[in-house]
C-alpha cells in the first residue's frame, strides 16, 4: 500500500470506498508474530510464537486467559491486546456476577467487535492495532473467532494471523476437515505442526512458543513448558509423516536463510 491523500484520518473515505487507516491497522496485525487457533467439537487450542527480542529479555505475553471458558491469542500491538483482554475479562466477570453463568463467547466477540467499530468512526480515536483469536466454550460447544481491527469478526474452524501465517494457513487448509472430530491430543499436535510451518525451518522449541487449551470440562489454561517440550519431542520422534511431501521448506533444520514470506496480494484486506 502506498501513501495517499485519504489516509490521514480514520474518518476520511477514499473515493474507492476504503478507510485506509483501518487497513493500515490490519497491516499492524500482519507484522506481529504468528498466532494460530484451531477447534474441534469440544476443544479449542491456541498457539503462538513467542520469540524474545534478545537473550536478556523475557518474551511478550500473547495469550491471555479471559475466563475459565474463554482465552485469547493476539497478534499486533500487544499493548492494545492487553487493554482489550482487560475489557473482555471485565465483561465476563460482570456477566457472571449478574447471572451466575458464563458469558457466551459468541456474545463476547460481538461486544468486542462493536468496541473496535467505535474506533473506526471517531475522529479523535484510532483503530486498535491488534488481531484477536478468541477461543471459548458456550452451550453449543467449542468456538474459535477472529476479531479484526475493522470491527469485523468471523468464526473459524482454524485460523492463523501475524507474520508468516500464510504457511500455517496452508497447513491448516489441508487438515481442517478432520478437526471437528479430532481428539484433544491430535488438535494440539496439529497446532504444533502449524506453528512449525511459520518458523520456516527453524527448530521448534518450547521456549519459543506458547500453547493454551480450553475444552468441555477443562478450564482455559496455558500448558507449561515441560508439557509442551514433551509433546514436541513426541511428535518429532514419531517422524514427519504428518508433514506431507508437498510442503515447501519443512525439512530438518538445514535451511540456512529464512525465505521471504509470500507477499499478501489483497485488493481490500477487509475482505478476509
Amino acid at each position: 500500500m502506498f501513501r495517499n491523500q485519504y489516509d490521514t484520518d480514520v474518518t476520511t473515505w477514499s473515493p474507492a470506498g476504503r478507510l485506509f487507516q483501518v487497513e493500515y491497522a490490519m497491516e499492524a496485525v500482519k507484522q506481529g508474530s504468528a498466532a494460530i487457533g484451531l477447534r474441534s467439537k469440544s476443544h479449542v487450542v491456541l498457539a503462538c510464537v513467542n520469540k524474545a527480542n534478545s537473550e536478556l529479555s523475557s518474551h511478550q505475553k500473547k495469550i491471555f486467559k479471559v475466563d475459565d471458558h474463554v482465552g485469547v491469542a493476539i497478534a499486533g500491538l500487544t499493548a492494545d491486546g492487553r487493554v482489550l483482554s482487560r475489557y473482555m475479562r471485565n465483561e465476563c466477570i460482570n456477566y457472571f456476577y449478574t447471572y451466575e453463568s458464563q458469558l457466551p463467547v459468541g456474545r463476547l466477540v460481538v461486544q468486542l467487535a462493536d468496541k473496535a467499530q467505535v474506533c473506526t468512526q471517531r475522529s479523535w480515536k484510532r483503530p486498535y492495532g491488534v488481531g484477536l483469536l478468541v477461543g471459548g466454550l458456550d452451550e453449543s460447544g467449542a468456538h474459535l473467532y477472529y476479531n479484526c481491527p475493522s470491527g469485523n469478526y468471523f468464526e473459524y474452524q482454524a485460523f492463523a494471523i501475524g507474520s508468516r501465517s500464510q504457511a500455517a494457513k496452508t497447513y491448516l487448509e489441508r487438515k481442517f476437515v478432520s478437526f471437528m472430530a479430532s481428539s484433544r491430543e491430535n488438535l494440539i499436535k496439529d497446532a504444533l505442526f502449524a506453528l512449525r510451518e511459520t518458523l520456516q525451518g527453524e527448530k521448534l522449541t518450547s521456549s519459543a512458543c506458547t500453547i493454551a487449551v480450553v475444552g468441555v470440562g477443562e478450564a482455559f489454561h496455558i500448558l507449561d513448558q515441560e508439557t509442551v517440550q514433551a509433546l514436541i519431542n513426541e511428535f518429532e520422534i514419531a517422524g514427519e509423516e504428518a508433514a506431507a511431501p508437498d510442503q515447501a521448506g519443512v525439512d530438518e533444520p538445514s535451511a540456512a536463510d529464512d525465505q521471504a514470506a509470500p507477499v499478501d496480494q489483497s485488493a481490500a484486506p477487509m475482505d478476509m
Binding site: 456476577y97 447471572y99 451466575e100 453463568s101 457466551p104 452451550e139
Partner: protein
C-alpha cells in the same frame, strides 16, 4: 421503620431525595406460592387473590407468569411491584432475544438477575415488596429457586413463600420424592393449597397450577378446591380454649 420516616432529621440519612417514591408498606398483596420439582420439570401453584389489607378485594389476579422460553415465575406480596418486575423481565428477555444467537437465558440466570435486582433495591431502602419463586427447565436440567424482598435466595426441590413456608413445606418435606409424576405432583400441591385455604386468612378458593417442562409452559385455567368443613376441630373451634373466639 415508621418512626424513622416521620422524623425529617433521620430521613435524609437513610433515603434519597425522591422520598415520596419509596415503597414503605404493601397495599394489594398476593399470598403464598408453592413450587415443587417433579419428573418432567417444575410445578407451581398460587391462588388468584389480591388482598387489600384484610379485605379479599381482587379475585382474579394471575400470580404465575412465564418468563422467556425456559422459566416460570410466581410472586407473592405487592402486586404492583410484581407488575414492575414483569416489566424488567420482559425487557431482559427482549434484549436476550435481540442477540439472535443460539444462546438464551435459563432459569438459573433469571433467578440470579432477580436476586441482584431485589438486593439492590433493598440496599437503597426502596424494596420491591415481593417474595418470588422462579422455576424452569433448560437442557434437561430442572431448576427451582426463591428470592425474597431483601435478597435472600436459595434453590431447593420444593419452595414456598409466606405462609406456605409454615404450612406447605412441612408437608412437602414428608411427602416429596424424586421423579413424582405430573398427577402425583398436582395431588401433592393441592394438598398444600387446601391446608393454606383452611388456615391462611388471605387465601381464596380459586387457584391456578402452572407446569414447565422442556417443551414449554402450561398454566391451568382457574379452578376451586373441594373443602371439607366437617372436621370436629371446625365444628367447635374454641373447644379446649375457653374464652377464645
Amino acid at each position: 421503620m415508621n418512626s424513622f420516616d416521620s422524623n425529617p432529621a433521620t430521613n435524609s440519612l437513610i433515603s434519597s431525595e425522591a422520598d415520596s417514591q419509596r415503597t414503605l408498606y404493601p397495599y394489594v398483596t398476593g399470598t403464598s406460592v408453592v413450587g415443587i420439582k417433579y419428573k418432567d420439570g417444575i410445578l407451581l401453584a398460587a391462588d388468584m387473590g389480591g388482598s387489600y389489607g384484610s379485605t379479599l378485594r381482587y379475585k382474579s389476579v394471575e400470580r404465575l407468569k412465564p418468563v422467556g422460553k425456559h422459566s416460570l415465575i410466581g410472586a407473592s406480596g405487592e402486586i404492583s411491584d410484581f407488575q414492575e418486575i414483569m416489566r424488567y423481565l420482559d425487557d431482559l428477555i427482549l434484549s436476550d432475544n435481540m442477540w439472535d444467537d443460539g444462546n438464551s437465558l435459563g432459569p438459573k440466570e433469571v433467578h440470579n438477575y432477580l436476586t441482584r435486582v431485589m438486593y439492590n433495591r433493598r440496599n437503597k431502602f426502596n424494596p420491591l415488596w415481593n417474595s418470588l419463586v422462579l422455576g424452569g427447565v433448560k437442557n434437561g436440567q430442572k431448576y427451582l429457586g426463591t428470592v425474597s424482598m431483601i435478597g435472600v435466595h436459595y434453590e431447593d426441590n420444593h419452595v414456598a413463600t409466606g405462609f406456605g413456608n409454615h404450612l406447605a413445606r412441612p408437608l412437602l418435606r414428608d411427602e416429596w420424592r424424586e421423579n413424582l409424576t405430573f398427577e402425583e405432583g398436582v395431588i401433592l400441591l393441592e394438598k398444600c393449597m387446601r391446608v393454606l385455604l383452611y388456615r391462611d386468612r388471605s387465601a381464596v378458593n380459586k387457584l391456578q397450577i402452572a407446569k414447565i417442562t422442556e417443551e414449554g409452559v402450561t398454566i391451568s385455567p382457574p379452578y376451586s378446591l373441594k373443602t371439607f368443613w366437617n372436621f370436629s376441630a371446625f365444628e367447635n373451634p374454641t373447644h379446649g380454649a375457653e374464652g377464645s373466639w
